[in-house]
Amino acid sequence: MKITRKMAFGTAAGVAAALSLAACSSSAGTTDGSSAGATDAAAADPVKMCVLVADVTSSEALSFRDYYTDYIAGNFPVEFVYSDELADAEAEKTAMEGFIANNCEAVISFASADRPTQLDMAEDAGIYYAVATGALSEEEYETFKDYEYYVGAIGPDAMTEYQAGYDMVKHFTAEGDTEFGIFGGGVPYYLEMHIYRAAGMLAALAEDPTTSYGGATEMGDILGKIYQDGTIKIADFESDVYTLSGYLETWDFDAAWQASMADMIAAGPDAILAVGTGNAILGAAVDGTGIQIGDIDAYTEDNLVAMENGTLGFLAGKFTSINGPIFAATLSAVQGEPYRTAEGSAFALSQGYWEATTAEEFQEIVDADNVDAPVYDVDALSPFVASGASYDEFADFVSKYTFADLVG
């Protein structure tokens, strides 16, 4: 093909035309989308809610997203705008800037690289900001709780994370397992929730009197040691009852990593305790070895299959509609009724995981809560959207999050 300069000009002009056309149609598209939402929700002006997501690729993130964009947007006067994958603080800030420029009325954040910056930006811009499936640290909370536009946080706090790890070990030891491998995920990156989960695991093991991790048996000491080492050292694990036969954490999936993984599996532990995404990363490798994985993840189809075939022995997971209450609080705030604590501060409420140890339990959970029929459905959430509910009522609503509370 011979390319002439005339064609070049043509291309340039074409690109310009296409972009401007697309621009117009995109604005038209926005209107269409909102009117569709409005039909269902019978409300005139949809609220533009923007969602910051650090990891858009995990099945957990995708099911959360489906809940918002398919269920919530179809039943409430809102439209959701999602960020791209956010690799770091810079990406978060860039996405926040885009949200503010494009007139978002509230931001629900699943991205935690730099929450203080997000909070400041939202406050400066006068748009509401809410933390989903997470919590501010105590220090951060003290700093930001009185921000006018900070809605609050609902999600597992550090103790909940710790508890999930603890529960996992308790499940396996109750079954008589004694030899474990640990998958430390983001521990070397000082991912706080992973460190707390790992600490919970070690602390549960250390309840046996002969067992300690580098001499530590209490949560605080164990956390301290992990923070100090930036990793978990199985050589420091001492016990007459339990064996830690392997440890793996996330880095490039290169030869060395794969060899380490093979070593961990070859050691043949009863179970591998994963601080997160254990089945996704190790599931294929342990398949057929009889080793079980304990995981903290989400109620996805992949995990169900793994639990059915016995690979996955324990799952602590966020259920699909777990982010219903934070949405309700945010929309309520946008509509003029923010929930504030007795001191007038933003709220910090905790919600934990649903746990499943059999395929039946798993199936029950999935049946009870999915994108089409979530536990936090319109009926459950509507009483808390600008309906005059008090903070205490809302807090009470949020605190009843367990499977038993919500499903029965």
């Binding site: 390319i3 690799a87 603080a89």
Partner: protein, 356 residues
């Protein structure tokens, strides 16, 4: 990869068109025509990035107004988002102009920003923080350059190695804090993360770069090296000293960029600045820089390219908001536009064989 024989095609065309019995005047006329054609090609190539910028600006305004975007804020955001890339890429042009390739600039931005953060946390002093950032970046840059110079290594490969080393250094720096992050005091960062600071830093550095590149021996010598390194050597150019100077300037740019990064995103993790390395490359090329360097290197390429990219990203995000898989489509559109601009910019410089 060198674009030798840049415009031989134009010459061949002129020769083929010579009339049967050429008079001196006719030859002169043909010659002038060929030269004029070459000049037009060159002019067009120079203008292509600007045309791209204009097209994007129009698209941005159209998309923004029709979507009801807050344009004042959006324009300010444009500066915020592009200034760091522009600064680092402008410094990097000194490396690329001489035909070298540095892949480690993103990693060294991260390390410099972390050093800046640590120094600030230790001293609380803005100037020490700035100095530390520049010092760290220049050091990293000079290690690559001296390794390459002393051992006659291709610069690209030393920077590939530097990429790994700097990644490990960043991990080590984070560990010194006993946490996942290096956090700089928020209120301090907010105080200086302003348009004024950014513009002062950018203008000062860009002025320095434009001056060095266009009005001193250094810029000329680098273009000569990029055009033909053997000739440059045989014209008395010290390849080693020039390379070291170029890397020092690029290091300065990285240091300043890292300083601004630390102020803009005061929470630094090992993944901070991870996109910058490739973004500066794309920005440069987008702005009309010839990646193999040489006489057609342009110091303004990074500015044009950096703003173009920010415009494009914002336009795409306005247009694709709320669309599932939108990021993938946005990236493909970016790729097509990028290739189109590069291709237009190269249109006056074709050779008989494929470029390398």
């Amino acid at each position: 990869m060198h674009d030798l024989n840049g415009t031989t095609v134009a010459q061949d065309d002129a020769v083929a068109g010579t009339p049967a019995t050429p008079t001196k005047a006719a030859i002169a006329k043909e010659d002038a025509a060929a030269a004029a054609k070459a000049r037009r090609g060159k002019l067009f190539a120079d203008l292509a990035p600007l045309i791209g910028l204009a097209v994007l600006a129009v698209a941005f305004v159209l998309a923004g107004t029709s979507a009801g975007t807050n344009m004042g804020y959006a324009v300010e955001t444009l500066v915020n988002q592009s200034v760091i890339v522009i600064i680092i890429a402008t410094g990097a042009i000194f490396i690329f102009a001489m035909g070298s390739f540095d892949i480690s600039l993103g990693a060294s931005t991260l390390v410099a920003a972390m050093v800046a953060g640590l120094v600030h946390n230790a001293t609380g002093n803005l100037w020490l923080m700035l100095g530390a950032s520049v010092l760290a970046a220049v050091t990293a840059s000079l290690i690559s350059a001296t390794l390459a110079a002393v051992f006659n290594l291709p610069v690209f490969v030393t920077t590939v190695a530097m990429l790994s080393v700097l990644g490990a250094v960043a991990a080590a720096l984070v560990q010194t804090t006993g946490g996942a992050q290096i956090r700089i005091d928020r209120s301090f960062a907010r105080e200086y993360d302003t348009l004024t600071v950014k513009i002062i830093v950018a203008v000062a550095f860009l002025a320095l770069c434009v001056f060095l590149f266009n009005y001193t021996r250094l810029g000329r010598v680098e273009k000569l090296m990029g055009g033909n390194p053997v000739t440059a050597r045989l014209t008395g150019v010290s390849m080693k000293l020039t390379a070291i100077a170029a890397f020092a300037i690029a290091g300065l740019g990285v240091g300043l960029g890292a300083f601004l990064t630390a102020l803009r995103t005061p929470t630094l993790t090992v993944t901070s600045a991870s996109d910058i390395g490739m973004n500066i490359l794309v920005a440069m090329v987008f702005g009309g820089m010839v990646i193999s360097g040489g006489p057609r290197s342009r110091i303004y390429a990074a500015i044009i390219g950096g703003i173009s990219m920010a415009l494009l990203n914002q336009t795409m995000s306005i247009m694709l908001q709320g669309m599932a898989g939108g990021a993938g489509i946005a990236q493909m559109v970016r790729a097509v536009l990028f290739l189109a601009v590069v291709w237009l910019a190269a249109s006056g410089f074709r050779t008989k064989v494929l470029p390398r």
